[in-house]
Symmetry: C2
Subunit: 290 residues, 2 copies
Amino acid sequence: MDHVTAFRRFNRYFTRRIGVLDDHYLGQDRPLGEARLLFEIGDGASLRELRSRLGLDAGYLSRMAKALQAQGLARLSAHPRDNRLRMIELTPAGRLEVTEQDRRAGAAAAGLLEGLGEAQRAELTRAMATAQRLLRLAGITVTLVDGAAPDARACLDAYAADIDARFPEGFDKDDLVRPREVSGDAGAFFVAYEEHRPVGCGALRRLEPGVGEIRHVWVHPDARRLGLARRLLDALEQEASARHFTVVRLDTHAALTEAQAMYRACGYTDIPAYDDNVYASHWFEKRLDG
Amino acid sequence: MDHVTAFRRFNRYFTRRIGVLDDHYLGQDRPLGEARLLFEIGDGASLRELRSRLGLDAGYLSRMAKALQAQGLARLSAHPRDNRLRMIELTPAGRLEVTEQDRRAGAAAAGLLEGLGEAQRAELTRAMATAQRLLRLAGITVTLVDGAAPDARACLDAYAADIDARFPEGFDKDDLVRPREVSGDAGAFFVAYEEHRPVGCGALRRLEPGVGEIRHVWVHPDARRLGLARRLLDALEQEASARHFTVVRLDTHAALTEAQAMYRACGYTDIPAYDDNVYASHWFEKRLDG
DNA sequence: ATAGTTCTTTGACTTTAGTCAAAGGTCCGA
DNA sequence: TCGGACCTTTGACTAAAGTCAAAGAACTAT
């Protein structure tokens, strides 16, 4: 049986068997739309945000929000800085309702797991975690963007903040690549997106003829341990090949031991220092044949 | 993180991410109810069957069936032997529509898996198979029923047909336990149900004071490899303990090698023949302490 | 300051989904 | 062969979900 068939079979089984359950317990005595909205408000959100998250019509959402307010479950207010936007947040009663929903759904889930022994439950949890990890990874797309694009800069800022906290000596944002170093002929910049949010990046720049350098491979904390860094690395290497680089190099900081392990696992070998990067303690390179 | 939380997290992620996809692609330009019905008709079914499978109101279903017929997608006819029932089957146009739905959903699934490498796809398939197996097992309930109940007899009939095909010498239905041997003080009979369908059984009867015999442990072919036989065995042993039996015995046929392996794995030890069952080649017993 | 854009609200719908009860034909067991 | 049980159809509803367009307030860039 091929993977697509297996995937669809699971999909069908799961939505029929479990998905239904969740919806059923979520709704109870309230229209499902309202219940979902209530749940999605969480710690407050703008109507605009909810509209795009839930994919609802503006008019429809407006009315539902009003209905929740009329029931004393939510409160609408103006956005502090943009008066076009409306913020919605839960009242204590609304919060209570959400936790009650949660309790019911939890009880239903517990009832469902009751038929399994402890070892089997652990096995199920493990299998689900694996499936979820791979599904998330499958949903992430790695795309080439301009080095000056807002998403690229946002990733680099996050990257800089991240390593600034991890390097004992800190990290100076001026040491990031310049947009022009990773645009056009000079290099390339990739951003990984999960549901339209940037969750990782990686840069490639020309070091000398035939030699590229990979820099700033970074993955958002929420998206770690999925195997995304490898995918970024793959994309960067493919780009390097397309540019007829025969070698890619990179350096890493002593503090980033996982990164070093990953580079070695991906076929990179230790080489002597090829630059005087003050943050670097290890230098690697990899021959590309493709 | 406990199993219930992990379970619900996966549930939420999966329904949001994947479940939606299926419904969306399934429906396309047709109401979801009709699309589901169309799909569920398959190679023809009675309205009654569809009603219980989909849990729909009789009137609602009747109207939807008529709508499908009006669109030229299905054909209604009388049941050949029971004129109260109506049969519904797909027309060629309906069949085309279903395969088209199927193609689209398959393409969507394939697109989703595109981001993964072959090894990762295999890992995902494996994880999903594990999860599905355990979820199915969790959904099966093992209940005590009267030995003369129709479900009990249906299981025994299926069991008899099953082993009749597997034993070289065949199997005579008269050698099954009698209802009264497994009812009341004399013994017990368990049936395993999956979504209200009997999918397995097991009998316990008193052999002599303090000693019980387990017989006819059977699992429906569709429900094998889930770990259900062990659950039936557990239920039978618990029942035996409750009846203050200190020992349970059982015999098996030479052809049933998997069964023998399972009994050994569950703590049964080989003993000399305790009866002259013509079908038996191995005899086992297990001490119960509880 | 002005034109264009963004966001929400409101009114006026339509479609889908689902329920309930009455009625009529059919089957089955006594 | 008669009464009760079964199955489907039909009429008459309701509630939920969703769509579309107009209008008004507020922001943004030029």
